[in-house]
């Protein structure tokens, strides 16, 4: 068990982190390359920057939009995301791990606050899952990953909270912490290849959507040639 834990904490952690970082860099690079190509081909290169920035910030800090539609769901979702981002990055115990993996650490949030965020995230995660299962509309458009992602994300939170806040037998603790680490690593590995990629792509969405309306000039001719429709009636 000790050796397994060491392996999970050490090489496997670094490997999964590397996969995540490289995976995210890959999709970010592909996105930006696509955007550059589109910008280069666009007949009109002026973009509504003010609108893009305002709307991007709106969704980063979704205070204004939150009550517009599905307010309960939206508030739960925001609370879920806050804990989801803050706890893994700013928990003291994690910073020690980051230090050993990448050589440097940073400021940690107090344990009490971390506990509150953890509990909020667990509760909100469960509510989101229930919401998805029970809402006919959500259910109808959901894929498999939409169901297992909230559960997978909750696994390290639940195991981590148990390990930090209860007096467990050493073997139970080790087992739970192993699950905790392995679940987190699985999340790292899957993250760039599933919908959680939105963690890095979302800030670009408004830009991409507005750029997509910037059509290249003279495509009529090109498409007619490709589809052999030259001279065909409209």
């Amino acid at each position: 068990m000790e050796a397994l834990l060491e392996f999970a904490r050490g090489p496997l952690f670094r490997l999964s982190l590397a996969i995540m970082i490289l995976g995210l860099i890959r999709i970010l690079a592909l996105d930006l390359y696509g955007a550059w190509e589109a910008y280069r081909k666009a007949g009109d290169k002026t973009l509504p920057w003010k609108l893009i920035i305002v709307r991007t910030l709106h969704w980063f800090f979704p205070v204004k939009r939150v009550l517009h539609s599905r307010p309960v769901y939206s508030i739960i979702s925001i609370l879920f995301h806050v804990g989801l981002l803050l706890v893994p990055i700013f928990l003291f115990a994690h910073i020690q791990l980051w230090k050993s993996a990448i050589g440097f650490g940073w400021w940690a949030i107090p344990k009490g606050l971390a506990d509150i965020f953890t509990i909020t995230t667990i509760i909100c995660g469960i509510l989101l899952f229930i919401g998805r299962v029970s809402s006919t509309a959500s259910n109808f458009i959901s894929r498999k990953q939409d169901y297992w992602w909230p559960l997978l994300l909750l696994l390290p939170f639940i195991t981590g909270f148990l390990c930090m806040n209860s007096s467990l037998a050493a073997s139970t603790y080790q087992f739970l912490i192993l699950i905790h680490i392995l679940a987190a690593e699985l999340i790292f590995i899957l993250l760039p290849f599933t919908k959680i990629a939105h963690c890095i792509l979302m800030p670009l969405s408004q830009f991409i959507a507005n750029l997509a309306w910037k059509f290249p000039a003279n495509t009529d001719d090109d498409i007619c040639t490709t589809l052999n429709k030259k001279g065909a009636p409209v």
Partner: protein, 489 residues
């Protein structure tokens, strides 16, 4: 290109709904409307060929790649889609509609999707799926309200636009749109309503005579005047159906004395390309550019029409020279400017009824024109009321995305598409609804008629025409008018 008529069997298949009979009944969709004759054989292959060609020569791939990677399926769009709200049919959820096309893209145009599909032998495009897309993309009014509500920033409007474009390349487009566009691009009249130039000139002269009688001012529609500041392109249907809007616009120009003109070479702002084909969009935009060049005009002025304004504003620079293209302004921007400058005076005692303003989606969704008309209206309509939601979050009239031109689905538009709008109008209690868009006006007039709402639908300039105050120097002496009319007799 298909030359022979489709067979009875093919027609049967084309008209077969993918929805459950009870859904069709609820939606009053007795007639389906993707009705251009098309070759039924091998449609999936044709669809994919068209999709590939469009991806090759456009910027859609970037957006599709982005959208398939980050879609979180949160279903917030479901709560804002007025079609889904009205039908309750899950297939009307914007995210579901977009997924129809995104799944085709993922399966046939991404490496991962192709491999997965080949291994599992599933997910390939079928004729049934094309059928479903055709119906779904034209159930949408392309109002893009869901776009503002999507946390992931997925532009469902763009995906619907692309879906319709690909469908059009395999012959699936509402007949009414194609017939109008054919006349506009290949017909003798060169415009969507088939208005010949002599008829246009007669109409304008008649309107001028009317205005002289009513206002005592010589209000003209300048024709083919070179070097004008503004070359005017209204929705051509205004010449037939919305004369008062045109009279209001002419009155504003008479009051300000600015140089504007309508060209006889081309005078139609309508661009159905925005609704179903980028190729058509480009061709129509180039006609506007050519006419403005012919007249050596300085600005393209679009009349009261949402889609005409957006298609010219967004795509004239795209297709006609980028930053060197003619600036495009909507007539409400012009009127607002001259009103702010104090060059337009309006009598605040003429319009006393309760007035509300309807935002056309194409000019309000990006906050382009939201406050300008409101400021003008509030200044001269004593009893102005606001409908909520409005502005960038407005509710569509229910006839957006070209569906208003399809008379065969009027009952769908006025019961399903426009249901939320009808509720909103009723709630506001307005007696005059200002809708500065040819499409919105037609839809809303049918909506208030079918839903039996006591409300008059007009354009902004219809009211301006009523309230405009002319400088005394512009007034033609009454004797002169009488003499002129006696001479005519």
């Amino acid at each position: 290109m298909r030359t022979s008529k489709i067979t009875e069997e093919e027609r049967q298949k084309a008209f077969t709904s993918m929805r459950k009979p009870e859904v069709n009944k609820k939606q009053n969709l007795e007639v389906l409307y993707h009705i251009e004759d098309f070759d039924i054989n091998d449609r999936p292959r044709c669809f994919l060929e068209a999709f590939a060609a469009i991806l090759k020569h456009s910027n859609y791939r970037m957006a599709l790649d982005h959208f398939i990677r980050l879609s979180a399926k949160c279903s917030r769009c479901a709560t804002t889609c007025q079609v889904y709200q009205a039908t309750g049919d899950l297939k009307d959820i914007p995210c579901y509609r977009s997924e129809l096309l995104l799944s085709v893209y993922r399966r046939h145009f991404t490496l991962g999707g192709m491999l997965r599909g080949k291994i599992a032998g599933t997910g390939h495009l079928t004729d049934e799926k094309i059928q479903e897309m055709a119906q779904s993309f034209y159930n949408c009014t392309a109002c893009r309200r869901c776009v503002n509500e999507c946390p992931s920033g997925i532009d469902h409007g763009l995906i619907t636009h692309l879906g319709r474009y690909i469908l059009s390349e395999i012959g699936i487009t509402p007949r009414a749109l194609v017939v109008s566009t054919r006349e506009q691009l290949e017909g003798t009249s060169g415009n969507t309503s088939a208005v010949p130039v002599p008829a246009l000139l007669d109409t304008l002269e008649f309107l001028s005579e009317d205005m002289l009688e009513e206002k005592g001012v010589n209000i003209k529609f300048p024709i083919d005047i070179e070097n004008s500041d503004y070359v005017f392109f209204p929705a051509v249907s205004d010449f037939l159906m919305e004369a008062e809007t045109l009279m209001g616009i002419a009155a504003v120009f008479t009051a300000t004395g600015d140089k504007w003109t309508t060209g006889t070479g081309y005078f139609d702002g309508i661009n159905y390309g925005l609704f179903y084909s980028d190729r058509i969009l480009e061709r129509v935009v180039k006609k506007i550019d050519a006419e403005t060049k012919r007249l050596n005009g300085k600005n393209v002025l679009i009349g009261e029409c949402g889609h005409a304004s957006r298609s010219a504003k967004m795509f004239l620079p795209a297709y006609c020279g980028g930053d060197k293209a003619f600036p495009v302004i909507n007539i409400m921007e012009y009127t607002y400017k001259v009103w702010k400058e104090g060059r337009l005076k309006l009598d605040p005692n003429i319009v006393t009824e309760k007035v509300a303003y309807h935002d056309p989606c194409n000019i309000a969704r990006t906050k382009w024109i939201v406050n300008q008309p409101r400021e003008i209206l509030k200044a001269f309509c004593k009893n102005y009321v606001e409908m909520t939601p409005s502005g960038e979050d407005n509710i569509c009239c229910g006839g957006g995305g070209g569906t208003v031109s399809l008379d065969e689905i009027r009952s769908y538009r006025t019961t399903v598409g426009g249901k939320l709008k009808a509720d909103q109008i009723r709630k506001s209690g307005c007696k005059i609804l200002v809708a500065p868009c040819a499409n919105c006006k037609k839809q809303l007039k049918e909506l208030v008629e079918d839903q039996k709402i006591d409300c008059q639908v007009v354009g902004l300039h219809d009211l301006i025409y009523k309230a405009i105050i002319f400088d005394e120097s512009l007034k033609v002496k009454l004797d002169a008018i009488e003499n002129a009319s006696q001479e005519e007799k």
